[in-house]
Amino acid sequence: MTPNPSSRAAEPNADQQRAARREVFQYAVRRFGVYLFTLWAAITVAFFIFRLVPGDPMNILLGNLTRAEGRQRDAAEQEVIIARYRQIFGVDDPLPLQYLNYLRKAFLGGLDLGPSFVEYPAPTRDLVFRRMPWTIGIFTTSVLLAWFIGTGLGALIGWLQRSQLSKLAVVISTLLQITPVYLVALGLIIYVGYTWRILPAGGPYARHLQPEWTWEFISSLLTHAILPMLSNIIVIGAGFTLGMRALMISVLGEDYLTFARAKGLSPFTVLKDYAFRNALIPQVTALAIIVGATLNGTFIIEVLFQLPGLGTLFVQAMGLRDFNTMQAVVLFSIFAVLTLTLIVDLALPLLDPRIRRLA
């Protein structure tokens, strides 16, 4: 438990404990209800918004075919192809009916999100599940690493706020935080990948390999993951560093820290058990938000590093107006953000007795 002196004011009796548990339970139910409603609203908005984007996928399909084959199809042939694909994609039905069908198939049909244009006849669900590990593996891991590094570094910089090194670190972190992640990525590709040839500059693994449990494949996978992860770690880590520094500075002015120092505790104990732990809670919330934002914001990293993740899939789907796939990727992102936020919200009362009491 966080050693906040105010939390030790009085031990609650059994009735108070039951009431507190009931309140926490009600809070969890309320929070879960909000979660379900937000999820439904997001699905609904995503369904309609992508169908309002200009560009008919059937026309795009034929247009790309014309470009690829280098020939014009006669009108009759075009009509047959369009009719066939309109039927497959179910776009001839009225929009409300399409929406209901979508919900029915998605929730009662084993997460059937419809067919994809990007890799027709592969179902959208399969595409998302196949691409998801790349996005989760590389980007979520990099965000977690950025969080750990940034939080540790930020705590240290905040603690040593008056030192010259700390001031320099703040300047560097600020510069890195405002640098677009794609610039960092391009810099790494150009210098680390091509100029110094230290690490592979693109692709998920060496082109001649197939996924299998061999050291050659695993080592290739890991070395290819370093630069994209580093791009994220540098930029997001800088943000976490600055955030944690600010939290630490605000905590350092609290009375209980003065009290702890007055008790004669060592500076390290004060930092670890009093300052750091109290500054940590908002930083945990920030992590949940950043993980979600990173899922949405790292598409360009995947494209630059030629990674077969959800970002690349979304860009491909956008080019074809493959609304089933676009929608699925967005839904995944929304689901991830909402779920993480829910988990953090539900976990916060366990971490912090003040929040539990408020709940």
Partner: protein
Amino acid sequence: MFYAKRVLLISVLALALVSVLSLAVAQDEELVFGDLPRSETFIVASQAPHNDVWDSFNYYQAGTYNNATGYANVVHEPAFITANGFYPWLAQSWEYNEDGTEMTLVITEGANWNDGAPLTMDDWLFTLQYNKDHADKGISWSGFLANVEWSAEGSSITFTLPDTNWRFHYNFGGLGTFSPIPKHVWEGQDPTTFKNPNAVHSGPYRLVSSNPDTRTTIWERRDDYWDPDRLPAPKYQVWLKRPEADVAVFEWEEGNFDLGRMPFSVMTRIMSSNPHIKPLVHQDPCPRALIFNTLNPPLDDKLFRRALGLLLNRQAVANLANVPGYVTPVLWPNLGEPDERYYDAAAAEEFQVTTFDPEAAAALLDEAGYPLVDGARVNKDGEPISLDALYIDIGNPAWTVWSWLLAEQAELVGIEINPRLLDIPTFFTQLPNGEFDIVFRWFCGNLPGDPVQMFDGLHSDNAVPIGERAGGVPGRYSNPDMDALIEQIRTADPASEEAQSLFRQAYRIWAEDAPYVTLFGENEGVVFNSQYWTGLAVGQPWVHWTPAARQIIDFLEPAGDM
């Protein structure tokens, strides 16, 4: 003793030297993609289309037509390759009966599939029936078989056609046309879902691997190819998705790719960094044009349309495109020199086809009743004329500069033209739906000696209301005289004097009505790395998105510059 020690020492040193030299020789063989010798591997950095499919080799799937893997280019062979003419491949010849209601196709005997099975008449007949049976599934190369019957004898297939059709053989020899498929692979398979996982077809390569994660397909040459005289030199071909151009530049500079398309804007840099990289310029077979929406006033007036044609400075477009020889002004019907048999030179001169003359344009506008009022041309209702000119940007400068030059010239004669850049999906939606005033487009499909594609799309069958999808040229053009000519052209033997006369008449109407105007012929920007392979030269009709690539790779020879 001393002598023995010296012998031993020398022996050890000699052994060490031999080992080092052996190692050096062994290491001299550069390997790529695992264990492929670089000197035997041809690497193509392709521009994969958006539908990025690397594990399906099925061209019936309209949604997954894919030439990024190389399947279209080095494995899937056509009946005839058309690159400046018809070249026999899986078929040898065709012949029509007297009235053009029957065509006999002679197939190539002795061909085989890349899994070793023979390619026989059975496969041809199976494919014809297969396509016809699945026509309702929206598959390619099935529509032309409607109401057509066929019978086989020896190595000939005779097609009985419902009407006179002197162009039936185009279905076997144009770009992206009918080709037989192996019966033993496809029988019982659904053409819309089957992936043809082993990439079986008749080309000289077999599939080694294809990976959707890395977007890489590796092919290995087979020794049992049915025509040993046309066995390509590279033992391996690797087709991969090119990284984004900003990143791909480095790969080219290091010589990691052998062939691929790159934006002109970076080609100069690549070539200056790596002297082995050469431009492989060739003329794209699809000339560019501007289509006018003839339902939108004042574009419904042929004089107004011709006036706009006179405002197009094609030479300036070519100059601004910034690469010498990249864009050439074009006189139709053909790219290059017009073929006099199909071309009415007098009409071209009379209606100033491809002429840039702003003064003549202003005079024409005055004559047509679009006066200049307070510096602006007004329409028949007295309102200032304002038009949108739509274009897309795929990195070729000429695709964009024409609109700005046209707007600049139009402003000088008092017309407001607003260039509007569209993203590709929106473009492909608005174009067939007729949601434009002026739009840029390419015209594909003209074959040598038959410019039918120039006129066929102008039939009024395509003049559907705006908002409905139109085939052909989507400008909603309608002219009964042109319709009558098109209908005659469709059934006439293109080689006959009768057809040529019809073409000349149609050309005159087209020149006078200007439903669309020619813009330029464009060269493809392809770069070729001559460090490992030679044989490809400027001007060869390399179009790596068509089966013509199958023919071109036969020119490749090892560079011997290792």
